[in-house]
Amino acid sequence: MTRKELQHLYWRAGFGMDHKKANTYAKNRKSVVDALITDSNTVTPLDIDLSYLDGIDPIDLRNHPSLAREITQKGRKKVRELNPIWVQRLIDPKELLRERMTLFWANHFVCRDQNPKHALHYNNSLRSFALGDFRAFVKAISKEAAMLKYLNGKQNRKRKPNENFARELMELFTLGEGHYTEKDIKESARAFTGYNHNFSGEFVFRERQHDDGSKVFLGSIGRYDGDDIIDIILEKKQCARFISEKVYRYFVNPIPNKTHISAMTDVFYKDYNIEDLMRFVFMSDWFYAEENIGSKIKAPVEFLVGIANTVPVKFERKKDILVIQRLLGQILLDPPNVAGWKGDKAWIDANTIMSRLKIPSLLLNNALISLKEYGDFNDKFKNQYFKRSKDKLPFKTLPNWDAFLENFKSIETENLSEIIIQGNINRGTADYLKTLSKASKRDYCVQLMSLPEYQMC
């Protein structure tokens, strides 16, 4: 594999290549992809201290409304704490591909919960199924406490069905719009009646609230329960196509290619094995085609994690990690609605583009993007500038430039753009880059990260 192909693979399957390991990657594609997948065979769940819930049971909360309020407030705070923990995991993952897939599924099975225990459980379920059996995955999602709350599954009862989950199950999670009728929604909602969870978040099936009658669904009839409905949906090849297209648009190119998606669909439909699907994508020649490299606008979290992968940076205040996500329009665990983030061009507006262009210098270089053309820069000025601006910075960070210089020591500053930027550089900008002094690898890195081109991967 060429360096360019490796970089492409690692931007899509991860958040950029690890340059300190640049020489240890295998030479041929199969070994690289095999290693990528094998390294993700294990699952390392996220963890957060929830001891404040110890010994509290639902009866206490019912009897003491003020305690209940306190617990709710603490919970919200905990969910906010979970966010930087997840971001940190993405920066330093044990199972790279698994973490990348978890992020993908989080914007597919979109859910939001203010209860940290349930939110954490949900997030870890995404993680453990991320490369597994899609069938088991959907069934598990339908029984998650967070999802039962988010799409009103627990309010779905025999006498008073609630269609919210059934509708989104088909529209957003499995088939896509136009592949089922309103009648199918009504019938399948009945099959999911009786689904509920207990205080700690475990699934509970309430027999008495379940509608055991027969349902007519997608052309078949039976006394279906929720799992049966999911099985029937997955029999439709459209389901494999729907997921394949979404995977393609996320991992390959935001502009779909029918031929490639159709090939993916054939692979996926066989047994809905996610790992096999991803292996097929990463092994395909078309994945490495010129038109796919640098074709995607980074999501805010990809952008942020990518920066930290190139220049290790420590956030002195965890809340800064949240502030950056808010500025850029993607706060993990806090999606806009069940349709998730629209992605691609929707990430970019007048505000977010300016923030993106400015953030690398804010995080790594005290807000300074050097203008040094042919080395006319004055170090004294630089020191004064840093002194002056240090207190005014919106973020408190400790960038580790020594580690950067060590990791990139084999790369000539002149060639840094090929490492930092994926895809082509606009000609005018390339001309401008030629005029820049490349005396400092650090300054040049910040300059490259402050370009529109850096938004692409």
Binding site: S295, L327, A339, K345, D349, A350, I353, P452
Partner: protein, 395 residues
């Protein structure tokens, strides 16, 4: 850049994915002004308790349902049945002058009682079981926007309401800081070398264009805004600051059709009285100062202010001297020359409630939007409001 040349180039380069409305975002020169009328949105976040805002002071059901929370003292009676919360005193003159229209019982079918989701519904103008990824004002921009500054949100991030399918407004709580960022000499150098060859690359071209638009919008807002104009005293709070900035923009004649402001904290589950009273005071005093500021500059006539909250609250108070999430609520329209000033309609029955014990809606919030779009902004609601809505007669 020559617009015609761009259209030609990009049509050739990517005719397959050519979307006409996408090109709107690329226009570098606004060809005409959008008209002089402006809309200011005020979002009361958290679910304002409408019943303690516009009080049914003559209704025993109200007092019985809220033994400790009902407002009994200093109600500002507006008619035999309804009156203002005492904190709304600064709005009294607007009411008397026929510059305020109160629309009762605004909501939507199958109300959702989650803040988050209900706000989403109000901002996207969707049905309660429909999930849209663009906002109603954003879709207005899709059809009519020319520059990001045609719609400004007074915050550091843009709400979904202001995001279109292809076109977005701009958010700024500090337009000077925005200008300073955009002015970074490095960006200037990059754009000096900018040429349009990259337009063959779909997404990268979009990034450059948005960067240019952002820079020129920041410059436009900064240079066009005349700071000295405002001689009006505003209260000292963040909401008032937002409105003061809006007044500056309006009075400086920025080509902005929509301004979005927000006041939060209305989620009063416990000890509601003081909290709500303080918030309503902030709201009323700030709005009153804002209207005076506009009047002084003769811009009030061309400005319409819409105040809404994502839901009202339960008729019955709870055990913690607060109220829980409800459904239908009142909406305020403030402007000159209103067709139906005062109360647009009567308050819904306090006994004929929905199964949760909440007010039933009578007017769909989207018909309020549709009315504003067609009668105030003078545009068709097609493509902006997806469901068929009755046009009301408050303007």
């Amino acid at each position: 850049m020559d617009r015609r040349k761009f259209i030609k180039d990009s049509a050739l380069a990517s005719s397959l994915f050519f979307v006409p409305s996408f090109v709107k975002a690329f226009e570098s020169v606004a060809t005409e002004k959008l008209g002089y009328r402006r809309l200011v949105i005020v979002q009361l976040a958290g679910g304002n308790d409408g019943l303690n805002t516009i009080i049914p002071h003559n209704n025993d059901v109200y007092y019985n349902a809220r033994p400790r929370l009902a407002i009994t003292k200093d109600i500002i009676r507006l008619n035999d049945n309804l009156g203002f919360h005492p904190s709304l005193a600064p709005l009294r003159s607007l009411f008397d002058n026929g510059e305020l229209s109160i629309i009762n019982n605004v909501g939507y079918p199958n109300p959702v009682r989650s803040h988050f989701r209900s706000m989403d519904i109000w901002q996207t103008a969707s049905d309660s079981d429909e999930y849209l990824q663009s906002g109603w004002l954003g879709r207005y921009l899709d059809a009519h926007g020319q520059k990001p500054y045609n719609a400004i949100e007074m915050d550091e991030q843009l709400s979904l309401a202001m995001k279109g399918e292809h076109f977005n407004g701009i958010a700024t709580n500090n337009y000077k800081a925005l200008y300073k960022t955009a002015k970074d000499p490095f960006f200037k150098s990059v754009l000096n070398h900018y040429n349009d060859t990259h337009l063959s690359e779909h997404n990268l071209g979009y990034l450059y264009q948005t960067m240019i638009e952002a820079k020129s919008s920041a410059k436009y807002i900064y240079e066009k805004t005349k700071v000295k104009l405002s001689q009006q005293d505003y209260p000292q709070n963040n909401f008032a600051k937002q409105l003061k900035n809006v007044a500056q923009f309006v009075n400086s004649d920025l080509d902005t059709k929509v301004f979005y402001t927000s006041l939060g904290g209305f989620d009063t589950h416990a000890n509601q009285q003081n909290k709500q009273s303080r918030l309503l005071e902030q709201y009323a005093e700030s709005i009153s100062a804002f209207v005076k500021d506009l009047k002084r500059n003769e811009t009030f006539e061309d400005t319409l202010i819409l105040t809404f909250s994502e839901f009202g609250r339960r008729v019955k108070q709870n055990a913690a001297n607060g109220t829980d999430h409800g459904a239908a609520n009142n909406v305020f329209i403030i402007g000159k020359n209103l067709k139906t000033a005062g109360f647009y309609n009567n308050l819904a029955s306090l006994t004929d409630l929905d199964t949760n014990g909440d007010l039933k809606y009578e007017i769909d919030f989207r018909s309020v939007y549709a009315t504003i779009l067609s009668k105030w902004m003078n545009v068709s609601t097609k493509g902006i409001i997806n469901s068929k809505q009755e046009v009301l007669h408050f303007i």
